[in-house]
Amino acid sequence: MNRLNELFQHKKEPLLSIYFTAGYPDLNSTLDIAEAIEKAGADFMEIGFPYSDPLADGPVIQNSSQKALQNGMNLTILFKQLKELRKRVSIPVLLMGYVNPVLQYGVKNFCDSCAAVGVDGVIVPDLPMVEYEEFYKDYFIDNAISNIFLVTPQTSEERIRKIDNLSNGFIYLLSSSSTTGKNLTVSNEADAYFSRIREMNLKNPTMIGFGISDQKSFNKAAEYTRGAIVGSAFVKFLDTENALQRIPEFINSIRP
């Protein structure tokens, strides 16, 4: 059982997770932001490792990724920075990014490095489920790393069951099929989708992400699931003046 499993087991209130890109706005801002997110009261966080071709991302995270790469960020440097992670941050931490940097780093190496620095889970949206199951699952399990899968309104029930069986952490529900940074539209369709998932009684908890940007969308997500993930809205906020000091203000605006 890792920190993520414990969090979902013990906390009953709606959970808030914050995403940001490692190495953005500055190469060495990663841990300062992580620490500030915890102090401001978020329940867990996702640290993105940048990739040159982030095809599931909208303009905000494309931009932060590109800037982070220009700043010199890569997985080797990130794991070096994260050596201090558990001296400064106690809430669960996930890494999120695309598969090619992980393949080049080596999947086993990557899982070992995650465990060594105290990372609890990983989200790699373009790592196919079948490859994960066939080749990589043991590296994750051996290191108690939760691999998080995405589900969209178009994902079939059969596939959701399969994802549920392979998951150990939570399942990441996309508010709609979209790239990151769009606004959650609370439609009848979305209602029906969230309700459908809730009624499946999955063994893993669920969180909603993509399009969560304010208190209203957060509350909506929390009606159906254990909570929500805020990404683009936070990355955009980091571009404002004195953002690091004002992180509590941001968190409060989502979940007072």
Binding site: L55, Y105, L150
Partner: protein
């Protein structure tokens, strides 16, 4: 079961898991899964239905103008001291091989009930070929094209607009083909129900590389018949084609893959030289990894960031190659060589002067390889003349100060 289906090579074709040896697969986020999975389950059934085949072949004949001629290029043959044939894909409607694939995919999209077509384009040839079939079928068409390519390929942008397509500039990353591909994939993520993505090369997640290769395989199917008529033998000694993502090469190689005696030569763009830092010679400079949804060989940094390629030819300016090419390369079934900008430009001019055929600069890379080969005089060589050079006239004029 008809001919195309049977002749997909067991050894070199795709396996049931969507791989060519170590390469291929579908490395896509969940948002793309339902569409790609639907294609995977249905593409073979749909494209080998008799009514699909009939419509496909009728359109290839009456609309595209197939079969494209196999031309014995006598003056080039004399120059290099061997027998050279050119497979004239430049004579297709819209001026390149790209339309073989878009005709196939538009019929597929219709049968899947899709109303909206998206595509990426580099030089604009695939964009034009897509806009063309969308006009033919009355479907909405959105083409993603790098902002930089829009500037340097103005005539093709105008052709697309003339046929009613919307051309959307890709402003992310390097603003060229790779980024246009990212933008098209983002569009598909955001439009998961009514949209079909017509990928223009043998790249992308399975089943695209195999599907596009099957549509392009008409090139080698015809070549075999035509060569037999001319020489009494279906097989030449050597088959050559240029490779960006690799669709004309895969179509040209397809029916020769199992004929081990036929030498297959794929010509990549070396740009300013393979060690110049300005190159697109993927097999020389790349390593195994994942790009645009499949495991293949790509140009990348040590930590897996995609490196911007360079070639004077927008159609070869791509940092990867299709997964089937990666397989042919790794297993030594085909030889992968590279040609610089300068070598290609000279070969393009030579072909123009000796044969009265102005080739696309992409194609000129394949022609340039002739300079590097030593012939006994007994070989027969087929080169895929993948496209015509009209779109490249500005580049040729500037280069040669004409």
């Amino acid at each position: 079961m008809n001919r195309e289906f049977i002749s997909s090579s067991v050894k070199w074709g795709v396996n049931p898991k969507g791989y060519f040896g170590d390469f291929g697969g579908a490395y896509i986020p969940e948002m793309l899964y339902p569409n790609v999975e639907q294609l995977r389950q249905q593409y073979l059934n749909i494209i080998y239905e008799p009514d699909f085949q009939e419509e496909f072949h009728n359109l290839l004949k009456d609309y595209v103008g197939r079969p494209s001629p196999l031309f014995h290029a006598e003056r080039l043959s004399a120059r290099y001291g061997t027998t050279i044939y050119l497979k004239r894909e430049d004579l297709n409607h819209t001026g390149a091989h790209k339309i073989n694939n878009t005709v196939g995919q538009i019929l597929l999209a219709e049968r899947l009930g899709k109303k909206r077509i998206i595509a990426e384009t580099g030089a604009g040839q695939h964009g034009v070929a897509t806009a063309t079939v969308c006009a033919l079928k009355g479907l909405e068409c959105i083409i993603y094209m790098g902002e930089i390519d829009i500037e340097r390929q103005a005539p093709n942008v105008a052709r697309m607009k003339m046929m009613g397509a919307k051309v959307v500039p890709a402003v992310s990353g390097s603003k060229t083909l790779k980024d246009a591909t990212n933008e098209a994939m983002r569009d598909w993520i955001n439009n998961p129900i009514d949209t079909h993505y017509i990928i223009g090369s043998v790249v992308g997640p399975h089943p695209y590389p195999d599907m596009v290769a099957r549509f392009q395989s008409i090139i080698s199917e015809e070549t075999k018949k035509q060569l037999f008529e001319k020489t009494g033998s279906e097989n030449p000694d050597i088959v050559m084609a240029c490779v960006g993502g690799g669709s004309n090469a895969m179509g040209m190689f397809y029916h020769f893959l199992d004929d081990q005696d036929v030498r297959l030569i794929a010509v990549e763009a070396a740009g300013l030289g393979v060690n110049s830092g300005e190159s697109a010679a993927t097999t020389l400079l790349g390593r195994e990894g994942v790009l645009h949804g499949s495991r293949s060989i790509l140009m990348q940094s040590d930590d897996g960031q995609v490196i911007e390629p360079y070639s004077i030819s927008a159609g070869l300016d791509y940092p990867g190659i299709g997964p089937q090419h990666a397989h042919l390369f790794k297993q030594d079934r085909a030889e992968y060589v590279s040609i610089t900008d300068d070598e290609a430009m000279q070969a393009g001019r030579l072909c123009s002067e000796l044969e009265g055929i102005i080739p696309a600069i992409e194609t000129a890379h394949a022609l340039a390889q002739l300079e590097k080969m030593i012939f006994t005089g007994k070989e027969s060589v087929v080169i895929c003349l993948s496209g015509r050079g009209d779109k490249d006239l500005d580049t040729y004029m500037n280069y040669f100060n004409l």
